[in-house]
């Protein structure tokens, strides 16, 4: 393998990995606070991508504006899902909330099939993301750099919110002990709604970027990335933001590099990737960053 090919593989891994990481953060945030696996996350992801499409084709919004509108409205849907499907079950056994999450996931998926139709749709991509740059033998699309860069910025914003704002303090408090937080006057439901809002906004952002990278929209497009990102979150140590990032990047790199170095395994790369991830969990059952005493948000 030449150096140029390796760099190309590296960039591809980085893009895929940061997409997984971004989705994984959404799972990890909700889990950290509520101990709830939000299965609807992958459908929120899909809605984010579709809203941009409709914003551009139906309302003729410019691309950037459609993106912002999509992220905001999807955040709203996330809060709505929490209000309708999770908040009434806050005191119910955890398994009930989990089933409710699966229900929401199927519901949103089928609503999308009815309203958006199952036919795949084309994604609009701004020209400047598509013009390839040549670095010697390496061919780089601005898109390949844009995706990890934007993911990184969003993660930084998130870390700031969680560790340096009052709302973030509330989140961390709830993740430690929800009952005591109530007693100490933390507006628990508001903070949880905010968490869902932020988590859904991140899902929308990753959905949009996923659609830029793999330009096709389908109602079931969230299922496989969502599933993989969830696993990445668990491997990284669910509840930990840094863990989600590490897990996501790790999965992206394993998937691409498996094919790069062992082309014959290409058809079974998921099996191969997951065997490696199982090994990680066997050595560290709580995940890479999953230390019991850590702040879980």
């Amino acid at each position: 393998m030449t150096l140029a090919t390796f760099i190309q593989h590296f960039l591809n891994s980085l893009t895929l990995g940061s997409l997984y990481a971004l989705i994984a953060i959404g799972y990890t945030m909700v889990y950290g606070i509520l101990r709830l696996i939000n299965f609807a996350h992958s459908e929120i992801f899909m809605l984010g991508a579709y809203f941009v499409f409709w914003g551009i084709t139906l309302f003729h919004l410019p691309w950037a504006a459609a993106m912002v509108v999509s992220i905001i409205s999807v955040a709203g849907i996330g809060i709505l899902v929490d209000r309708v499907a999770y908040r009434p079950l806050r005191d119910a056994p955890r398994i009930s909330a989990l089933i409710s999450a699966i229900g929401v996931s199927f519901f949103l998926q089928n609503v999308a099939i009815v309203f958006f139709q199952a036919i795949p749709r084309q994604v609009y991509r701004p020209q400047w993301l598509e013009q390839p740059m040549l670095w010697g033998d390496v061919r780089v699309l601005p898109l390949t750099l844009f995706v990890p860069l934007l993911s990184f910025c969003l993660m930084m914003v998130l870390v700031y919110i969680v560790y340096h704002t009052k709302a973030g303090l509330g989140m961390r408090a709830i993740s430690k002990d929800i009952e005591t937080s109530y007693l100490m006057g933390v507006p628990v439901n508001k903070v949880i709604a905010l968490t869902f809002g932020i988590g859904s906004a991140l899902a929308a952002a990753s959905g949009i970027m996923w659609a830029l990278r793999y330009p096709q929209l389908q109602p079931i497009m969230g299922a496989i990335p969502g599933f993989k990102a969830f696993i990445a979150a668990v491997v990284g140590g669910i509840g930990s933001i840094q863990g989600a990032v590490i897990g996501g990047l790790l999965l992206g790199f394993i998937e691409i590099m498996t094919v790069a170095f062992f082309p014959d395994l290409a058809g079974y790369r998921d099996a191969f990737a997951f065997i490696l991830l199982i090994c990680v969990l066997l050595i560290k059952p709580t995940g890479i960053m999953g230390v019991k005493t850590e702040d879980k948000v």
Partner: protein
């Protein structure tokens, strides 16, 4: 208690008679197609073709024809359930379906057991009809199509080195790739790289990078349309310059809308019908005109044509048999000879496949262009 039993028996008999009376009043035709999921694209079009044919010929032997449509959701298990439902609940006398070889095989097992004739639309894997008494199809099979693609690439385009990118989780893809491989090497070409992926994958950059390092002249992707479009997009982004070819599953009017500039120059094999075809038979002309009247903003395509042909071939069989009994339909279908369909002259051979030449379509200036038909060197 005894009286209740008698009552039940009487009731059952009455219902039975009512059911029989109902069955002989109309001809019941079942349709199972993927209307959602991975193959929804082709399934929807085939359904439209079937419905168009039904509208045109809604009566056979003086009886009304009733259509029962069930979605098999692009899923093998759902496919078997769909056929079961058509046979047991709707009591159909013949079945049309389906797009997708894996789906056709899963559904075919059920109709074969029940003895209900089934006519496949675009399921091209040889195994679909192999050893089956009641399963037919209006399309050709993959060895034929694979050989067609290989012959065209090697002989007509002069491409000597080929690479394959195969969906290992899909019978159609694996089968077609191996037939292409066989014919291409037999003709004297060389396969420089064979790589796999799995249905649902969206990132093909690693595979494409590896293929590019082997510098093939042509990449053959026996994939479905949705994945094929993404593969071509990524190949373009990585700067690949080789010719890309595919099979009939890539035949879709939306290909240029979804693939954009990435599909320019792409060539795929198909059944001998395309609206851009220069010399059409009268049936195809009529089909094209009728379709354009109903869908002014959508081009007709080969899947719709096959759906149309599948329905018409069943009607033809019923007319020739003079009966709509499943067994009679089956025997008449097996004897079909020189039936003129939208996709050309169709004869059902002893393995229940339709014999017809392989058509070739190329994307030129963002438009699907029929470049001719080829009779492959097997």
């Amino acid at each position: 208690m005894k009286r209740l039993g008698v009552l039940c028996m009487v009731l059952a008999m009455v219902c039975g008679f009512a059911g029989m009376a109902l069955a002989s009043d109309t001809v019941r035709v079942g349709v199972f197609l993927p209307l959602t999921g991975q193959n929804a694209f082709g399934g929807q079009l085939e359904l439209e073709g079937v419905q168009m044919a039904h509208k045109e010929m809604g009566e056979v032997l003086g009886k009304k024809v009733e259509l029962f449509v069930v979605d098999n959701k692009s899923d093998k298990v759902e496919s078997a359930n769909a056929v079961k439902r058509l046979i047991e609940k709707e009591k159909v006398q013949a079945i049309i379906g389906t797009y997708g070889s894996s789906l056709a095989m899963a559904g075919g097992e059920v109709s074969e057991k029940a003895g209900i004739p089934q006519v496949g639309t675009s399921c091209t894997n040889p195994l679909v009809t192999q050893g089956k008494k009641y399963i037919f199809r209006v399309c050709f099979i993959d060895p034929f199509q694979g050989a067609g693609a290989a012959t065209y690439a090697f002989r007509d385009l002069g491409l000597k080195k080929a690479a394959l990118l195969i969906d290992v989780a899909n019978d159609y893809s694996v089968g077609l790739a191996s037939f292409f491989n066989k014919s291409f090497t037999k003709l004297g070409g060389e396969i420089v790289s064979t790589l796999n992926y799995q249905s649902g994958d969206q990132d093909f950059t690693a595979q494409l990078q590896e293929i590019m390092s082997k510098q093939p002249d042509v990449l053959f992707i026996p994939s479905y349309f949705a994945e094929g479009a993404i593969i071509m997009k990524q190949a373009q982004e990585l700067g690949a310059t080789f010719q890309i070819m595919g099979g009939d599953a890539m035949d879709n009017p939306e290909i240029t809308a979804i693939g954009g500039s990435a599909v320019e120059g792409f060539i795929h094999t198909t059944f001998p019908y395309d609206p851009s075809m220069p010399d059409m038979n009268p049936v195809a002309q009529k089909f094209t005109a009728e379709w354009t009247k109903i869908n002014p903003d959508k081009d007709p395509n080969v899947n719709a044509a096959l759906g149309y042909d599948a329905y018409m071939i069943i009607m033809d069989a019923i007319t020739r048999a003079g009966s709509a009994e499943p067994q009679a339909i089956r025997d008449a279908l097996a004897a079909t000879k020189d039936f003129v369909g939208v996709t050309g002259m169709t004869t059902i051979n002893e393995t229940h496949d339709a014999e017809k030449p392989v058509g070739l379509v190329k994307i030129i200036d963002g438009k699907k262009t029929y470049v001719g038909a080829i009779t492959p060197e097997l």
